[in-house]
């Protein structure tokens, strides 16, 4: 690739606020928009979680009616998955992929703008359903028929909103693939790319393959509800279980869409603060690809209890357990990277190490859930809630926070407040375990998920869990303050920022120029991967 340049390339951002943020085609600005949006949605979804936990603080009905409680569980999931975690990773991809591979921008900058600006409208529609007669969706984020077909006005609006989110994700993913495959600097071969870029390339393929399947499923839900079709209506010859198969064909790869970029982030941070190259770079690439492949053939472990042939149960059980192998490769590679390294524990490293330990707990409980006969006991209990929150909060969210601390000095040109960052880590890590670990006990004791009231035998651990939830929620306000403080000022960050940092992004100034790599950077032929 050759980059043609002329004087206009060195311009800064447009001076008008609207021109800059509404019409921007700059990957850094769009990355910032995604990240700010995702942080806002993180707090919206977090407030919904606090409503759930406040109601569950004691047995009996205290604060909200059961229907509103169900709206909270449903929309907490939709907001956190599609509004917080996925846009955060897309924001990181927008900011970092071009400057990691030496590209001047994303391949399709106008589409990039459109991908982002669909999201605020999608979530305005989704959240507005809470004000509609009958309220928002309350049948769970999985939107299973026939329950979901009994909804009133909210259903078509929510389905339209999820379609918009899907279109946004697919366009973002197409942009990532087109950028990585066509815009790398000369000499930046695939096996020299940073693992964050590799992880995102594979994630983008997962998105392109699975988001249309979700769109297809909810389109059929829509036609069943309003156009007289019977795709999922048993009385009309349809099959409601088929919806579950289609949904989870999307839903399980979706889990990896939310964790593969996290693996890429951790693979950037641990070598930096270990001051060693990543152990087993190529095995990390192959492990990521293996996990992505396996994610397509394990979906029915989410629905062991619907009743399927024994051979089906066995296949999905063993295929699920197989995922532990490439995941184990990754965990051991991170540990091997740290082994005998010159370790320091700045905030990004604390969150990265926290990720490795706590995500692995989520992985182990996932293995327990994969055991089909045991899953009949665990299914739809708080054990499942504990499992996926360890994966998604101490996994995906921890990696996003780690990435924010890691790259904030590069983005803003200022160092963040390390003391507050460490306080944020320790409070988060203590409270997140107080919040989610007792939910394992509740689930094993038989407490069902998605209920606003419960038997008194579950009272103690629910009270503990709620205390953890409020502690974790307030700890995130520290993060908000650290980010605002860092954006507004602070000690000047050097170009390299971290002593052990390697890669093209660290050769740019902090903050990087508005337009970077107008001329492709030179990458020496023999140089190893930039980690």
């Amino acid at each position: 690739m050759t980059a043609t340049t002329h004087d206009a390339h060195h311009e800064g951002p447009p001076s008008s606020f609207l021109q800059r943020w509404l019409f921007t085609t700059n990957h850094k600005d769009i990355g910032t928009l995604y990240l700010v949006f995702s942080l806002a949605m993180f707090f919206v979804g977090g407030l919904m979680a606090l409503v759930i936990r406040a109601e569950l603080f004691q047995p009996g009905m205290q604060l909200v009616d059961p229907y509103f409680f169900n709206q909270m569980t449903t929309n907490h999931a939709l907001v956190m998955i599609f509004g917080a975690v996925m846009p955060a990773f897309t924001g990181l991809a927008n900011w970092m992929i071009p400057i990691m591979i030496g590209a001047p921008d994303m391949a399709l900058p106008r589409m990039n703008n459109w991908s982002f600006w669909l999201l605020p409208f999608a979530f305005a529609i989704l959240l507005s359903t809470m004000l509609m007669p009958g309220g928002a969706l309350a049948g769970g984020w999985t939107m299973y028929p026939p329950l979901m077909l009994q909804h009133g006005m909210a259903l078509p609006f929510a389905i339209f909103a999820v379609h918009l989110m899907g279109i946004s994700s697919i366009m973002g993913a197409i942009n990532v693939v087109a950028t990585i495959l066509n815009m790398r600097a000369p000499g930046m071969t695939l096996m020299k790319m940073p693992l964050f870029v590799w992880a995102w390339l594979i994630t983008a393929y997962l998105l392109i393959a699975t988001m249309p399947v979700l769109a297809g499923a909810i389109t059929m839900l829509l036609t069943d509800a309003f156009f007289g079709t019977h795709f999922f209506n048993a009385a009309g010859g349809g099959d409601p279980v088929m919806y579950q198969h289609i949904f989870w064909f999307f839903g399980h790869p979706e889990v990896y869409i939310m964790i593969l970029p996290a693996f890429g982030i951790i693979s950037a941070i641990i070598p930096t603060f270990s001051r060693k190259p990543l152990f087993g770079y190529s095995s990390m690439v192959y492990a990521t690809a293996s996990i992505a492949f396996l994610s397509f053939i394990v979906w029915a472990h989410h629905m062991f209890t619907v009743g399927m042939p024994l051979s089906g149960e066995l296949f999905f059980m063993y295929a699920t357990m197989l995922i532990a192998v490439p995941t184990g490769v990754k965990v051991f590679n991170w540990i091997a990277t740290m082994w005998r390294g010159s370790l320091t524990f700045e905030t990004p490293m604390l969150f990265a190490v926290g990720f490795v330990v706590l995500f692995t707990i989520g992985g182990f409980s996932g293995l327990m859930l994969a055991i089909s006969p045991a899953d009949f006991q665990y299914h739809d209990t708080y054990f499942v809630v504990a499992h996926f929150h360890y994966v998604l909060v101490t996994g995906a969210v921890y990696s996003i926070i780690a990435a924010a601390y890691f790259w904030l000095p590069k983005w803003t040109g200022h160092m963040y407040d390390e003391r507050l960052g460490k306080l944020h880590f320790w409070l988060s890590t203590i409270f997140v375990n107080v919040l989610f670990f007792p939910q394992h006990f509740l689930g094993l004791a038989g407490m069902p998920r998605r209920i606003p009231d419960y038997s008194t035998q579950f009272a103690d651990w629910n009270a503990v869990s709620t205390i953890g939830a409020f502690g974790f929620g307030f700890a995130q306000l520290i993060f908000l303050w650290v980010v605002i403080k860092c954006v507004r000022g602070g000690a000047k960050a050097s170009d390299q920022v971290w002593e052990g940092a390697h890669g093209l992004e660290w050769t740019l100034s902090s903050p990087p120029p508005y337009h970077s790599f107008n001329e492709p950077p030179a990458i020496p032929a023999g140089e190893s991967s930039p980690r």
Partner: protein, 40 residues
């Protein structure tokens, strides 16, 4: 690319082909998901 910069024709062509294949893949998965249920 940001509006004020241009890519060489070869890269532009490659990007167009990449996008065409990926859009076709996405649309294919969408249509296949629905059509498959119609036939069952």
């Amino acid at each position: 690319m940001s509006d004020n910069r241009e890519l060489d024709p070869h890269t532009r062509r490659r990007i167009r082909w990449t996008v065409a294949v990926l859009v076709a893949t996405a649309l294919g998965f969408y249509v296949w998901t629905i059509v498959r249920q119609m036939n069952s």
